[in-house]
């Protein structure tokens, strides 16, 4: 029987149906001896899939075997359970399997864990209660059991938050494995448990992703892992690859990144082709984080591009796709098209052609930066030509999106009408040329695109006879290979060509009126009417133009009346699709919230949401008479390219302001003399002996241009890179203004209490530092300086004390200000320029330099406000080191009695500075960034660094989003750009220019917030403040 079963397996393997033996396999598992049983189980696992009905018959056998005293039988049963088991029957065996977790034999424990893993995969709900047992398995004394539990954790940790506390355990395990603590038989070619290491590295990278504190735990072990993998064997490289990936996934640490980058070098330069492949793959992953890494290996990349191996080439293109920017896009696209022409694998074509189209559409309209050599005309031709290639190569394999995007690009255009027209003109010209040649081999979707463009824009081209256009299009109609859908496109194009050549049209209509296709016949009829009825005809040009140039009311405000009527009649308010989706999801789960929390059905909120997704509805037949009517008849809603601006959509065609880069002179590692030399050559071109080499170098320079500065591109046009530690000028504007107001509101009655706190604070200060202590640097300030400072200040305060006393507004603005480029304090204009915006316009006195020492300088200035005198004190850092800690103490002398003031503010200042130091930037303050929604959209797309966080939503008011955003706005000096439905966009920027964009969305009771900024630490900083502000609220 066993023999027969093996043959049945053979039959199935060769592709013959052996379903009649299935039942015998189950029988064999039930009745046979040990070896027969095993083969029976094996056959079952090969033959039957999860949903097979016969599988139910197996449950009893499994149950029996699980309870058997024979270890081998238990083992087999567990194996088959872990391979294939009916979902509904899990509860029946679950207790038995759980029991096995504490079995004395390791193999049984191991298999039980794997069986539970299977259960987790097919029915996660049923094993929720035994998560604690997984934890026990993880700490099992047998490494095999521990290793198998990792599979479960790898799944669980995909939502990492609740498993962060296990990081330490995983790190320890990896350390032990690395340290050779496992038995020798776990070694593979004297590498300890390599696959286990890989598994652990994956888990660690999932845990450490975007989490600094967790990442810090694993730096050491990753470092060790990188170090250990020195041995020259494939498997160590496999570990190394995983390690590099982990290093680049978790929160970055410069030292490790550098080491990992060096490892990649080993891969890429390896003569072994498999390693080279893996190196390219690693590089592809890594350049997403740091595009400059590709520069070090440019010559290798170029070689790989010409490699005879298809796989290597393919991977290289993938890499190039990732490093594309506005400057090298032409070259990269050309390379990709070359590859596509020689490629005949359908999957690859579909995959890659989409990318080419994406690239071509992403970079079309940024002409000003787009290489000075490329004139707009030339650029247009490149774009159209590329798209022609895309359409003719990709043909009908293309996703429907690609031609649609292209047409939308043509129709919507950019800001300048002239440029758009040029592009369109070029498209028309190029299509006419194409159509004059052989057309029978062209893919349908290309023909459709061409006919649409000719219909819309042929009139732009003065020199071309309309008859010629009509003739060419009609010719297409006659071809057999043209599908009926394309015919419809062509006919609608013909309808659009204005001032018809009636005779031609009539001929055409005549010949089509006997067509088999009813749609075509109908269109031909319409065409005839249209060309005969001159009155109808006159409407047309207007209509056509109006579709694309007039402002479409994207908010559909003309429907508001209708909507409010419907609402009044009890209709449900409109919800955008994603919200509906979410609600559907919520409905599926148990609803634990009381019903009263549901959305307020107010007209205002619904009209806002109404405005959100006009795209679906804005076919707007009323607006675009003939054209819309025709396209509707054509049954292709894809044609309707409404002029709606897509604020949030993916629109790479928006102008991207990138600083034009000088040719990049990258620092190559010493390992790479070739590329270094090459880089030098690029700067000062010298005659090169081998032309082939020169070609390659040219290619390299065109491919990698612009990469070096990619990361330091600043969007607001300020691209000067300040020394990294000194990036921002401090501006605790927030604290100063808030302290000002709080001070103002505090009356004299509270002064006594303040005095007590003051004296308390005073007492806590060390005696030997009576006034201003500068404990910033490694050196301690001389006491004389400190004394001088204090004296100086005292006298100064004396001078102005009277005024401030008389005015009763004892306001002092304390403002630590680090001046990056060492302004001498005497340059008053520079200092006053640093005043907060709301103080800038106030009349002010000259800036008086109070005192200075080699490290710090103090100066002050008075500002005259209507109700108060403001005293601004500038504390400037004269050195290039970072100020770690500044203690400022102000004393105010008045009528022989010393009164300390402003400690209250100082406290705030200190707190503020501590906070900044925590963020490793010295004093960052942001300001509102006033932009329009549209500019915001552009900025948003040009940034990629994304930080997401859920924040508390203030729910005490009617419109929680607005309330929350306003609270944030007040607390943090943000600019609320727009609120659309349940989403809001907010912007702010650093004083030095780096913007930070916030995109918020109400998500249940929380506020999901996405932050983007070119400055890596800024989003975290802002998030921290937002959290604090909301917590205080």
């Amino acid at each position: 029987m066993r023999e027969i079963m093996v043959r049945a397996m053979y039959c199935e393997m060769l592709g013959y149906d052996a379903s009649f033996t299935y039942i015998h396999a189950i029988k064999l598992a039930q009745q046979g001896g040990v070896l027969e049983k095993r083969v029976g189980y094996l056959a079952v696992s090969l033959f039957l899939n999860e949903g097979h009905e016969l599988l139910l018959l197996l449950v009893n056998t499994v149950l029996k075997d699980l309870q058997s005293t024979n270890l081998i039988e238990v083992c087999m049963a567990l194996t088959v359970v872990a391979q294939v088991f009916p979902k509904d029957m899990i509860p029946a065996v679950l207790p038995l399997v759980e029991d096995k977790l504490s079995h004395p034999k390791e193999i049984i424990r191991r298999k039980a864990v794997l069986a539970l893993y299977k259960f987790y995969l097919i029915a996660p709900n049923q094993v929720q209660h035994i998560h604690a047992k997984f934890c026990k398995a993880l700490s099992d004394k047998d490494p095999g059991v521990m290793a198998s539990s990792l599979h479960i954790y790898l799944q669980l940790i995909r939502s990492p938050d609740s498993y962060k506390d296990l990081t330490g355990s995983f790190v320890t395990i990896l350390k032990q494995v690395l340290g050779g603590k496992l038995p020798v038989d776990f070694n593979y070619h004297s590498v300890p448990a390599p696959w286990l290491q890989i598994q652990l590295l994956r888990i660690l990278s999932l845990l450490g992703k975007e989490d600094q504190s967790t990442s810090e735990l694993m730096y050491e072990v990753l470092d060790e892992s990188l170090r250990r993998a020195e041995m020259n064997h494939n498997i160590t490289y496999a570990i190394l690859y995983e390690c590099v990936k982990a290093v680049y996934t978790i929160h970055p640490k410069a030292e490790l990144l550098e080491k990992a980058a060096r490892c990649i070098g080993n891969f890429v330069l390896s003569p072994k082709i498999n390693l080279k492949y893996l190196g390219l793959k690693a590089l592809t992953y890594v350049v997403q984080h740091d595009a400059k890494l590709a520069l070090q290996h440019q010559m290798t990349i170029i070689e790989c591009l010409d490699h005879s191996d298809f796989t290597i080439k393919r991977e290289t293109l993938e890499l190039l796709f990732r490093i594309t920017n506005a400057q090298n896009v032409t070259v990269i696209v050309e390379k990709m098209l070359d590859f596509l022409r020689s490629c005949n694998d359908e999957h690859t074509i579909i995959h890659l052609i989409g990318k080419v189209a994406e690239l071509a559409e992403k970079y079309p309209f940024n002409k000003p930066e787009f290489m000075n050599t490329l004139l707009p005309m030339k650029y247009n031709s490149w774009f159209i030509q590329t798209m022609n290639d895309v359409f003719s190569i990709g043909g009908d394999l293309l996703q429907q999106d690609d031609p649609n995007n292209f047409l939308r690009l043509l129709a919507e255009g950019s800001e300048s009408k002239e440029e758009d027209d040029q592009l369109r003109l070029y498209a028309v010209e190029s299509y006419l040329t194409v159509l004059k040649g052989h057309t029978s081999h062209l893919p349908q979707c290309f023909l459709q695109v061409m006919s649409w463009v000719l219909g819309e824009y042929a009139h732009l081209q003065e020199s071309v006879d309309r008859r010629e256009v009509i003739r060419l299009l009609t010719q297409l109609l006659d071809q057999r290979s043209v599908s009926s859908e394309t015919r419809v496109w062509i006919l609608s194009a013909l309808t659009k060509i204005p001032e018809g050549q009636t005779d031609l049209i009539l001929d055409l209509a005549e010949s089509l009126s006997s067509s088999q296709d009813t749609v075509l016949r109908q269109q031909a009829q319409e065409l005839r009417h249209l060309s005969q009825d001159s009155q109808l005809r006159e409407f047309k040009p207007v209509a056509v133009v109006c579709v694309f140039s007039s402002q479409v009311d994207s908010s559909l405000s003309f429907l508001d009346g209708f909507v409010s009527e419907a609402l009044a009649a009890g209709a449900a308010p409109y919800k955008p699709p994603h919200q509906r989706q979410e609600e559907l999801c919520e409905d599926r789960a148990l609803n634990l919230e009381p019903y009263s929390f549901s959305l307020p059905v107010s007209l205002s909120s619904c009209s806002i949401t109404d405005r959100q997704s006009p795209t679906l509805l804005s076919v707007s037949s009323g607006l675009s008479g003939n054209s819309a009517e025709l396209s509707q008849k054509a049954g292709s809603s894809t044609l309707i390219l409404e002029g709606v601006k897509r604020v949030w959509g993916k629109d790479g065609y928006l102008p991207q302001k990138e600083a034009t880069a000088p040719p990049v002179d990258e620092p190559s590692a010493a390992v790479q003399p070739a590329s270094q030399q090459e880089a030098a050559e690029r700067i000062e071109p010298r005659p090169e002996p081998s032309t082939q080499n020169q070609d390659k170098q040219q290619l390299a320079s065109s491919l990698f241009v612009g990469l070096g500065v990619g990361s330091s591109v600043s969007l607001l046009g300020k691209s000067e890179a300040p020394p990294p530690r000194f990036r921002k000028k401090p501006r605790p504007h927030e604290s100063s203004s808030s302290s000002g107001t709080s001070k103002r509101s505090s009356d004299s009655s509270s002064r006594s209490s303040r005095n007590t706190t003051d004296s308390f604070l005073y007492g806590s200060f060390p005696e030997e530092e009576p006034a201003t202590s500068i404990s910033t640097f490694d050196h301690t300030p001389k006491s004389t300086t400190a004394n001088g400072l204090s004296q100086n200040k005292d006298t100064k305060e004396d001078r102005h004390a009277n005024t401030s006393q008389i005015l009763g507004g004892d306001m002092v603005i304390v403002r630590p200000s680090t001046i990056q480029d060492k302004h001498p304090p005497s340059v008053s204009s520079d200092l006053t320029a640093l005043l907060p915006a709301d103080l800038k316009d106030l009349p002010h006195s000259d800036v008086i330099s109070l005192t200075s020492d080699p490290s710090l300088s103090l100066s002050s200035c008075r500002l005259f406000r209507d109700e108060a005198l403001l005293l601004v004190i500038f504390i400037s850092n004269c050195t290039e080191t970072v100020i770690k800690d500044v203690a400022v103490q102000l004393t105010l002398k008045h009528k022989h009695q010393q009164m300390t003031l402003k400690n209250f503010f100082l406290l705030q200042v200190f707190e503020f500075m501590r906070l900044i130091l925590m963020n490793s930037i010295l004093s960052v303050t942001h300001r509102p960034l006033v932009v329009t929604t549209e500019e915001y959209g552009k900025l948003w797309l040009s940034l990629s660094h994304d930080v997401k966080q859920n924040l508390k939503l203030l729910t005490d008011a009617g419109d929680p989003l607005r309330t929350t955003l306003n609270a944030l706005k007040d607390a943090l000096q943000l600019h609320v750009v727009d609120i659309i439905g349940s989403e809001g966009i907010v912007a702010c920027r650093l004083l030095s220019g780096a913007p930070c964009l916030l995109h918020c969305r109400v998500n249940g009771a929380a506020l999901a917030m996405w932050l983007r900024s070119p400055h890596p630490a800024l989003p975290d900083f802002i998030l921290y403040h937002c959290q604090r502000a909301l917590a205080h609220h």
């Binding site: 198998s148 593979y188 290597i312």
Partner: protein, 144 residues
């Protein structure tokens, strides 16, 4: 994740196939044929990884026998490449100098070994003694 593992000889005859994801019986044959064609067409100096539809193939040749593994994009190709070698080493240990014939006539045992190593498309055991332990125990019981 591992999608399937095939053992095919140079003539394109399948010697062993194991799918970790449901593939219809009718489609298996054509898939195997495509896979074999893809791998056989490659030269020695080209790399052992091929893109195939939406997954990757990792193959390794032992005399006239190819072992081909289909994996997803997120899997580490080189580790699979070495896993194949580990598998062959285990077979070698069990059959002492394994040959194509061993695999043909002991299909069930090869499957049992494979089941110990790969489960549900994941690598679950790579320790040679532990992989062979259940099978050796079975053999001993069958003898007695």
């Amino acid at each position: 994740m591992i999608k399937f593992l095939l053992m095919v000889n140079k003539q394109g005859q399948t010697r062993l196939s194991r799918y970790y994801e449901q593939v219809e019986l009718g489609k298996r044959a054509s898939l195997e044929a495509d896979v074999v064609r893809g791998c056989l067409a490659r030269r020695k100096e080209e790399c052992s990884f091929v893109e195939f539809k939406d997954y990757k193939l990792v193959y390794r040749q032992y005399a006239a026998l190819f072992i081909v593994v289909g994996i997803t994009e997120n899997e580490n190709e080189l580790s699979i490449y070495e896993l194949v070698h580990n598998f062959v080493e285990v077979l070698d240990k069990y059959f002492s100098r394994v040959s194509e014939l061993d695999i043909m006539f002991n299909l069930d045992k090869v499957h049992i070994i494979l089941d110990e190593m790969i489960l549900n498309g994941h690598i679950v055991e790579t320790n040679k003694t532990r992989i062979l332990a259940p099978l050796l125990a079975l053999d001993k019981m069958a003898e007695s």
